[in-house]
């Protein structure tokens, strides 16, 4: 079942940012619910997609294919956003996303996001805001990962906060 606006807003506070209840309801009315069985693919690397997915429950594994097999880019839990690259820059998906347990996602397509623009600009702005934040975090992580794979030394923390993060292994 599609969640109630308040529940969705609680699970994805970043999406509710500038929204009123009716904006979230409009967003939800254009999303489609999908239930995945363990082992089922949500997204297949290389397949053309233009949908972003919001994980309501369960867990999803993200893997990159390389010549020697595949490499995990992490496992994601409820509250995660996936597939945003294909929505924002339509083209082949950058990774394969597979349910590790039973999972439920809400999908939002590019056309639906365009439809919302006129009557619910706040909803569109909130979605773009949230996706920009997700992408920024992924870019930071991917840059670090690239450095690791290329065998480069990690950057020295430049700030006190950075040093703290390095100590506690976060961020």
């Amino acid at each position: 079942m599609v969640p109630a606006s308040q529940d969705f807003a609680r699970q994805f506070p970043q999406l509710a940012g500038h929204c009123r209840d009716e904006d979230i309801a409009a967003m939800l009315s254009r999303m489609s619910l999908r239930r995945l069985q363990p082992g089922e693919h949500l997204i297949e690397e290389g397949a053309v997609s233009d949908r972003v997915y919001f994980l309501l429950d369960g867990a999803l594994d993200v893997r990159l294919h390389v010549t020697s097999g595949s490499k995990t880019a992490g496992t994601f839990g409820p509250g995660s956003v996936l597939g945003e690259v294909a929505l924002l820059d339509p083209g082949p998906a950058t990774a394969t996303v597979t349910a590790t347990v039973t999972a439920t996602v809400l999908g939002l397509g590019r056309a639906a996001l365009d439809d919302l623009r006129v009557d619910h600009p706040r909803a569109v702005s909130s979605v773009l805001h949230a996706l920009a934040a997700v992408l920024s975090e992924r870019i930071r992580r991917a840059s670090d990962w690239l450095g690791e794979v290329r065998g480069l030394p990690a950057p020295p923390p430049r700030t006190l906060l950075g040093a703290l993060r390095a100590l506690i292994g976060a961020g």
Partner: protein, 163 residues
């Protein structure tokens, strides 16, 4: 100094702004500070606090990271590309160093204008957010591609004779 650039034309040519009204394009162009830089000049330094976002108008900008005394290029940007977005979106330190790879002309949008556009839901704000998201998605795609290449190379050297 290079020849004066028709900024409004540059802004209008960006895919994200093509739907905007002329007055909005003029306003956006007017808020850009345009500067020329020589090849090699550092425009953004990794770890620094972010002061604005940038648009490549002419020339090429190299995006990379300084590691163990060497500069490792991650990406090469050309006319119409935006850079310096990540740190303004998440309010963290600069995630990479950006330097002029050739002589470049770059437009900069200060932090306060960025915030205004990033937080507005008027058409100009939505167009900006869409353009910014599309640029971030392209940047991520590029990184993803580089990671796959680096993983493939690492796997090759693991299976080959020791060097």
């Amino acid at each position: 100094m290079s020849a004066p650039v028709d900024l409004a034309a540059v802004v209008r040519a960006l895919p994200c702004f093509c739907e905007l009204a002329p007055a909005e394009i003029d306003a956006l162009a007017a808020s850009l500070l345009v500067l020329d830089h020589e090849a090699g000049q550092v425009l953004i330094r990794e770890g620094d606090r972010a002061d604005g976002v940038y648009l490549v108008i002419l020339g090429e900008v190299s995006v990379g990271r300084q590691r163990g005394g060497t500069y490792e290029e991650i990406n090469r940007l050309t006319s119409g590309d935006l850079f310096g977005l990540v740190a303004l979106v998440d309010d963290g330190p600069r995630s990479a160093t950006c330097q002029a790879a050739t002589a470049v002309t770059v437009g900069s949008l200060p932090r306060n204008v960025f915030s205004l556009l990033f937080n507005a839901h008027a058409p100009i704000g939505l167009a900006f957010q869409r353009g910014l998201c599309a640029q971030l998605a392209r940047d991520f795609r590029h990184l993803d591609h580089q990671i796959q290449q680096a993983l493939a190379m690492a796997a090759e050297s693991d299976s080959g004779p020791p060097r």
